[in-house]
């Protein structure tokens, strides 16, 4: 146990939760680096975190504070390093007080200075992120939960059900990647003080305490370490399963090593494909008149309320008008991108004439890029029926 780490956690817990997100991130980062040798600080460098996002610092901080109505808990979780351990208790909170406790978080972005309250609230807030629909029975449980701060403190080692692994991943998207390591640290610090209690709690907890959902099966050790290990294993297994679904042909392979083999092969093949396609793109590029690209962007920006940045907006109504004229009937299947791709090479002045020419005389030609781009934008063809392109930049 590293005193530096625990002191770090302690100092954060001591409630100077002035929303210094950067500071807390740095704490978290240091704690994690103390605990977790594999922590890659470059990815979560506290100061440059916002820079990485490409956002102004205050905006990012604001995001962390108020990511949205449904996510004050997420911001709380991301700001509090100890929230990391709380993802374990996720199970628990399903019924929990998340609802009741979420309110205070939703109201203010500053945390109470009471360490216990903070920890409890953070814990429940983490749960609230995902269980808002499920936490319907929270009301009656709140007094119960509030009456048991020590107990809620102690069973941080509850095993994780299958759905839990997804929640830490959600936290990850809140820029908090290794909080679990921190969790382990703080949890083990707590367990040193109340080692017996958690075990006893967990064994019987399933009946009495609704938020303590213990998966301590009969015959399995309820030791904090093994529970944590089991939780971690389940998390890893869940992620492996997801990867298996993602990589084609992995579902029928059994055995972690073989699956990993497949995944590695898939990643390598994808990277090679990207290289190959980039070579191809580079070969095609010199023949492209890049001035036409401006028209692509502007044509797609024009119909959208995107802003005045898109140049050539004046020509767009004309082009769209001709496009609608041309794309009657059979060409409806082709979304405008095809014609826009086609415009890519044509001088912008000629766009309307080219369009009508191609629309009327060369429908078959336009269909060939259509076949390739239909796969590209299958979903966008639906909104494009209204000749509206939805793009986001």
């Amino acid at each position: 146990m590293e005193p530096g780490g625990s002191s770090g956690v302690g100092s954060v817990n001591s409630g100077t939760y002035t929303p210094e997100i950067a500071e807390s991130l740095r704490f978290e980062e240091e704690i994690q680096s103390l605990i977790d040798p594999s922590f890659d600080a470059s990815s979560a460098a506290g100061g440059s975190f916002t820079a990485l996002l490409g956002l102004p610092a205050n905006q990012a901080v604001e995001l962390l504070h108020h990511p949205g109505p449904g996510e004050p808990p997420a911001s709380a979780a991301s700001s509090s390093p100890i929230a990391g351990d709380l993802w374990r208790l996720r199970l628990v909170e399903q019924h929990a007080v998340t609802d009741t406790l979420r309110l205070p978080f939703g109201c203010s972005s500053t945390f109470p200075s009471d360490a216990a309250l903070v920890e409890r609230a953070a814990r429940f807030s983490v749960f609230a992120t995902d269980d808002s629909p499920a936490s319907s029975s929270g009301g009656g449980l709140s007094p119960e939960l509030k009456a048991e701060p020590p107990d809620s403190h102690s069973p941080p080692t509850l095993p994780v059900p299958a759905e839990k692994p997804r929640r830490p991943s959600k936290r990850k998207e809140c820029e908090k990647s290794k909080a679990k390591a921190v969790a382990k640290k703080s949890k083990s610090a707590e367990e040193n003080t109340s080692a017996a209690k958690p075990a006893a709690e967990e064994n019987t907890s399933g009946d009495k305490l609704p938020y303590v959902h213990v998966r301590a099966r009969r015959g399995q050790a309820t030791d904090s370490h093994s529970l944590a290990e089991r939780a971690r294993r389940e998390k890893i297994n869940a992620r492996m399963k997801l990867l298996q679904e993602l990589v084609p042909g992995c579902s029928k392979i059994t055995g972690t090593a073989l699956v990993l083999d497949e995944i590695i092969n898939h990643v390598q093949s994808l990277q090679r494909q990207v290289e190959f396609l980039s070579m191809k793109l580079a070969a095609v590029n010199p023949r492209i008149d890049f001035s036409g690209l401006d028209h692509i962007l502007s044509a797609e920006c024009g119909p959208l309320a995107m802003g005045s940045g898109c140049g050539g907006g004046a020509s767009d109504p004309a082009t769209w008008a001709s496009e609608t004229a041309a794309s009657t009937g059979g060409i409806r299947r082709m979304p405008p991108p095809q014609q826009i791709w086609h415009l890519d090479l044509v001088h912008p002045q000629q766009s309307s004439t080219v369009w009508e020419n191609n629309g009327a005389a060369h429908p078959h030609f336009l269909l060939s890029p259509a076949t390739s781009l239909v796969g590209y934008d299958p979903a966008s063809s639906v909104p494009l029926n209204s000749n509206q392109l939805k793009t986001e930049l």
């Binding site: 977790d36 040798p37 594999s38 922590f39 600080a41 470059s42 990815s43 990485l52 996002l53 490409g54 990012a60 995001l63 990511p67 949205g68 449904g70 692994p165 997804r166 991943s169 998207e173 809140c174 820029e175 990647s177 390591a181 382990k184 290990e229 998390k235 997801l242 990867l243 679904e245 993602l246 990589v247 972690t256 090593a257 990993l260 083999d261 990643v267 390598q268 994808l270 990207v274 396609l277 070579m279 793109l281 580079a282 095609v284 590029n285 010199p286 492209i288 962007l297 309320a305 802003g307 791709w341 890519d344 090479l345 000629q350 004439t353 390739s372 979903a379 793009t391 986001e392 930049l393």
Partner: protein, 195 residues
């Protein structure tokens, strides 16, 4: 989500709005769903085009194109994943990345041999202790940018996101090259009107 809130530069179309709601329940499966939406393809396509435009003047080497494509992909990830941040950081200034890594992280070198068991208190499962699995995981960590020293669970999550992103990248680039080449063929065939 941060991505939805930070889309100040992008109009929140209804598709992105619905994506916001979908991504809330916090499933790791959203790693793939978020990359598979057509809007993402368009976003990435636009970014790629913008990135490729400056190189249109000078003959674009394939490596430059690939790097531009990867940077555009990492940008589209909006910095939510480790690999995207690693790519962006690596591109802008190689020294900056080193500085970030070296700053106060001296322990990293010492702990490297134990990269598969990050937390000393835990006992890794029997499977994870297997040498083969560990080797594979290390290999995977080398493949995914910025994930060399990562625990198994973090690495797997990054890999899922990375695979989804790569698939989207391949799809988009393929469509782009086909469209551009088809268009260039047509322009070559019909000749530039008016020029």
């Amino acid at each position: 989500m941060i991505s939805s809130s930070s889309s100040s530069s992008s109009p929140s179309s209804s598709s992105s709005g619905s994506r916001k709601k979908k991504m809330k329940p916090g499933l790791t499966a959203q790693a793939e769903t978020k990359w598979q939406t057509a809007a993402q393809e368009q976003v990435y396509g636009r970014r790629l085009l913008e990135a490729l435009r400056p190189t249109g003047g000078a003959p674009a080497g394939p490596r430059a194109v690939k790097e531009a494509a990867d940077s555009a992909l990492a940008l589209t990830a909006r910095g939510q994943s480790r690999w995207s941040r690693a790519i962006l950081l690596g591109r802008c200034r190689p020294r900056r990345k080193l500085l970030l890594k070296a700053g106060g992280r001296i322990r990293r070198g010492r702990r490297q041999p134990r990269s598969s068991a990050p937390v000393p208190l835990q006992q890794v499962s029997a499977e994870l202790r297997g040498k083969k699995v560990r080797d594979r995981l290390r290999l995977l960590g080398r493949l995914v940018p910025g994930c060399r020293k990562l625990s198994a669970s973090g690495l797997l999550e990054e890999t899922a996101d990375y695979v989804a992103a790569l698939e989207m990248q391949v799809k988009t680039m393929r469509a782009l090259t086909e469209a551009l080449s088809a268009a260039s063929l047509s322009a070559g065939a019909t000749g530039e009107p008016g020029s």
